[in-house]
Amino acid sequence: MASFDGKRLSGIQRQLHSHLPSDPALRVKSLESLLVDKGYLDSGAVDAWVEIYSEQVGPKNGAAVVARAWCDPAFKARLLADGTAAVAEFDFVGRHNAKIVAVENKPEVHNLVVCTLCSCYPLALLGVPPTWYKANEYRARAVREPRAVLAEFCVVLPPGVKVRVWDSTSEARYFVLPQRPDGTEDLDEAALAALVTRNAMIGTALVQAPGEEKEA
């Protein structure tokens, strides 16, 4: 039974600090051996999970969703009305997100996603978050000075474009539906998907047409 007692947790954290090595590689190796020894963990499942998140689940999932929304107005309407159901049409492997919300960039509004309290992220669509997304700097600054954060990512918005920041405080997982760049009318869905970066779906990049300068 869990204690559900925060003071007790803090006390255990301090005990662990004085008893266990500080090197996380050693501690994690020891934790895995112990969990397997206890029968609480199957190392083959750990291998499979690492393999899936290194090779199969990543921003290409989200990019496929974005490209379809650009090509298929009916799909785009479904995505904006119920992101969870629209994404379920894709049959992605990996972890399912209980609720997915797509937020659409428009000429007058640019969306940016953050989790100020921890690291909530649309894992099923974008895979493992980049370290900067989980870093204290991004979490502290994105809600208060989003334009300064965007400038660090070389995104400078024209005057009159509003920034809307989404702080992921619940189990809803946000991702940005970027604007389709001009000059891509002849590209098919697969070619469009190749243009969509992870950062564009977090909101820290715009999607560039082929031949345009790459994001910094």
Partner: protein, 218 residues
Amino acid sequence: MDGMHDLGGAEGFGPIDRSHEDEPFHEAWEGRMFAMAAAMARPADWTIDWFRYARECARPIDYMTLGYFDQWAKAYETLWVDCGLLTIGELEAGKSLRPAQPLAPPLRAEDIRGKAHHPPNPLRPDAAKPAFATGAAVRCKTSGHSGHTRLPSYARGKPGVIQAYYGPQLLPDAAAAGQERAEPLYSVLFKARHLWPEATASEDEVCLDLWESYLEPV
């Protein structure tokens, strides 16, 4: 909880370090920790909110300075010691020194490969009816409490507008205390100029997902 984790709007932080941003894991142990968290057997009373609370209860200096997956490792070590699944002596030894607790079996590779993995679902569609309509003016309550909550300090006491109703979801404050209680959840829109003293001329906005008990009518 008024802790180091409640970072939204905190000042004094510098540039965002974007090195290695395209590698899912920088070192192999990080991938192992991430995967262990997904694959291991869990006690029946485990919740994601209890895990988040364990991270928040880290030593403040650890919260601010340790790597992300190192903090995960510390949180899981703490949770498993708390409920008696493991002892600190076993963690030191890296092997079992006493009988295991009976848990449901852990996931196997074949459970994971080639299909979606569904963590516990926090949505409770029929659990409650919303008190606030879309477009309603609301204000966040000013008082937090000492346990886990998902009302960030920067929004306390601030006025906003209900922009969408998401249906009932399990209340994190209750889940982190071992109780199952669903409440209506809303997307609430705040003007940046109502949140930050220097943003008086800003048209920018911040949206938060907030449970009904975090809000009061204006």
